[in-house]
């Protein structure tokens, strides 16, 4: 049934190594950038620009989309849902720096997202710092944490690295749940100090501003990852992902390359945590759980590891599905099914988890890989 040659015949190319022609694309574009006609470059960027414009315009769109969104597109509920989707999309993109780009199977990425989120709320409330300083503190401390944790965890590779990062994230989760000195709020989480942030980010009516903030974070993460992938460091990461031994022979300091990936990914993740706290009005202990890290992995693989669109689409779709699949539990057709089936299907995570297994089997390059195969148009990358 499984001949050793099945990696040739089958579609099961490891998603970490098959990541894409994106490496090739990057290699082609980096040196040859100047020679390419300006018009074509603009043309290639066009879909992204149009998409961005449409997204930015959504808060002005008073359209009902029955079944898709809870209310009008620009209603606060919809805006909040979309903002959450965008933030998580950006966080998934930050995780892809480790998993999709560098081939690091980290189970501890939630740690840095949670660090950004909690350090922001704690800086604002407990330490009474002004917002800009609080953001700075959150980012600096989270990045320093990434340096320490990454420095230790990268002493082992592969599966052991996954276990060790998981353990560190779990430690953070325990600390947050124990609520030392009352700073993390335990199971309740820590609400955002509303007086410490600009009025524009607070209140139901200002949901569009939080939406734009989330969009801005996503764009920033996108730009940073794009620049990183095209840089020398990005090429080194791709080399490590493809074949660590060979990368070492070629003279890349693989430890430093991997540490860089951890630090950059964690920085973006922490920024995502900061924005998450601002958008959702506080820090939630769910961010620290291993379940959240695993869901990041699921998002990236669902969308397509090593593709910028893949991670973002995976993150957005997952968050959307997680929120909207709850509706399924109220659906009428479920009532005709046996109780047990209905109870199981009412769990979004059951559907997402099962769907994920199916994707790993039948579309190992993710939804974007699947779409890419159907469309085969490199311009939409």
């Amino acid at each position: 049934m499984t001949s050793p040659t099945d990696h040739l015949a089958h579609t099961h190319t490891p998603s970490v190594t098959d990541a894409d022609g994106d490496l090739a694309t990057a290699a082609r574009t980096a040196p040859g950038q100047e020679r390419r006609p300006r018009g074509r470059r603009l043309l290639r960027a066009l879909p992204a620009v149009i998409g961005l414009a449409v997204l930015a315009y959504l808060p002005y769109l008073p359209v009902e989309l029955p079944g898709v969104l809870p209310g009008r597109v620009n209603a606060p509920g919809s805006m909040q849902l979309l903002a959450t989707c965008l933030v998580i999309g950006g966080i998934a993109l930050s995780y892809d720096v480790l998993f999709g780009r560098t081939g690091l199977l980290s189970f501890g990425h939630a740690l840095f997202v949670a660090a950004g989120s909690y350090l922001l709320t704690i800086s604002l409330s407990t330490w009474a710092l002004p917002l800009p300083l609080a953001v700075l503190v959150a980012l600096v401390l989270s990045t320093a944490l990434a340096l320490v944790v990454g420095g230790i965890a990268l002493r082992v590779g592969g599966i052991a690295f996954a276990m060790v990062t998981l353990a560190f994230a779990q430690a953070a989760s325990i600390i947050v749940m124990r609520n030392p000195g009352g700073v993390t709020g335990g199971e309740e989480g820590r609400p955002l100090d509303r007086d410490a942030v600009p009025d524009l980010l607070v209140g139901v009516a200002n949901a569009p501003y939080r939406y734009w903030l989330a969009l801005a974070f996503l764009v920033l993460a996108w730009v940073v990852v794009t620049l990183l992938v095209r840089s020398r460091a990005g090429h080194a990461m791709a080399a490590v992902r493809e074949n660590e031994q060979r990368a070492a022979v070629l003279g890349f300091g693989t430890y430093r390359v991997k540490l860089l990936a951890v630090v950059v990914g964690s920085f973006l993740g922490a920024l995502g945590g900061v924005v998450h706290a601002l958008v959702l009005g506080g820090s939630n202990p769910h961010l620290t759980t291993s379940e959240f890290t695993l869901s990041l992995l699921v998002m990236v693989v669902l969308g397509g590891a090593g593709h910028r669109w893949g991670a973002v689409i995976g993150g957005v779709l997952y968050t959307y599905a997680d929120a909207r699949l709850v509706e399924v539990s109220n659906a009428a057709w479920l009532e005709n099914l046996p109780d047990v089936v209905g109870q199981v299907l009412s769990q979004p995570l059951f559907i997402l988890g099962s769907f994920f297994v199916v994707v790993v089997y039948f579309a190992p390059s993710g939804l974007t890989g699947l779409g890419g195969r159907l469309i085969r148009r490199s311009g939409t990358r």
């Binding site: 998603s15 199977l105 779990q170 695993l294």
Partner: protein, 294 residues
């Protein structure tokens, strides 16, 4: 003095639970290179299977008898689940380790969600034999009886696995496969059949761990397996990724460190000190963690 005795016994008892949870994981990782995230779901499956069985048996039966039958059912369910997962999901992805991990991640998410859907997210209390809830006085300390049960079961499992590894043909193939599974295949041995057996064995151990953990906690809940799994991971890493003896030693050390730190420092510090221990081990001897012999 009596405090210390109490801490040592409870620590070793906890370590025994960790060993039972980690042994299957370690065996599977050592032989197949598969990090089995679904191990937590296997444990949860065992715990619920025992809970349902004990509830279904007539209440007039002695509690201990119902528990024994519950344990047997949990072990059988764990083994069957492990077998099915290996044959249906793991085997087709042979040599694609990352995808194998991803599939088990998907299973763990879906499995916990399914349990939550059927039985609810809240813990359900389990019956415990009166004797296991009691204590025994020893060296001035009142020691909870259930810890002795965990310890005995763990010792039995350890001895059984060692005997399997060193006295049987299957064990010889497993030990060779842990060292170099490609070469086992290159000697004409069908290593895939061994994989299936080991996965079923790991599942059985997970089922056992699940039901004992639910006795320890006094309840079953969907997330229970996942929280035990993390400590099992730590034990496997400290124990040297695939070494059974290493796993046993690491389990006891982790259990003791946790209990001692919880008592002498502060409640909750125990869990953290375990992670610290892991970091320390990684810093001091990273090379010993790249895989070892049984």
């Amino acid at each position: 003095m009596s405090d210390l005795v109490l801490l040592l016994v409870t620590g070793v008892g906890l370590g025994a639970l960790y060993f039972i949870a980690a042994s299957g994981l370690s065996l599977i990782y050592g032989l197949m290179g598969v990090l089995n995230f679904a191990h937590g779901v296997f444990m949860t499956a065992g715990a619920y299977a025992a809970w349902l069985t004990m509830g279904a048996l007539p209440g007039t039966w002695p509690m201990a008898g119902r528990l024994v039958i519950g344990v047997l059912v949990a072990v059988a369910v764990g083994a069957v689940v492990g077998l099915v997962v290996e044959v249906l999901l793991i085997r087709p992805l042979y040599r694609h380790h990352i995808q194998q991990v991803l599939v088990t991640v998907g299973l763990s998410l879906a499995g916990v969600a399914a349990a939550q859907g059927i039985w609810g997210a809240d813990p359900r209390s389990v019956d415990k034999p009166a004797w296991m809830s009691g204590t025994t006085e020893l060296l001035g300390a009142r020691l909870p009886n259930d810890r002795f049960v965990y310890l005995l079961v763990a010792l039995g499992l350890f001895a059984g696995l060692l005997a399997l590894l060193h006295l049987t043909r299957l064990g010889l193939v497993i030990r060779a496969g842990v060292e170099n599974r490609t070469m086992v295949e290159a000697l004409g041995i069908d290593v895939h059949r061994t994989f299936t057996v080991v996965f079923a064995l790991g599942g059985a151990a997970a089922g056992l761990a699940g039901v004992l953990h639910s006795q320890y906690a006094g309840a079953v809940s969907p997330a229970q397996g996942g929280s035990l799994l993390i400590f099992a991971f730590i034990v496997v890493v400290i124990g040297g990724m695939g070494s059974l003896t290493g796993t046993a030693v690491a389990a006891v050390v982790v259990g003791l460190v946790q209990q001692l730190a919880n008592y002498y420092a502060a409640s909750g510090v125990g869990d953290l000190s375990v992670v610290l221990l892991l970091a320390l081990v990684l810093l001091l001897r990273p090379t010993s963690l790249k895989g070892a012999t049984a």
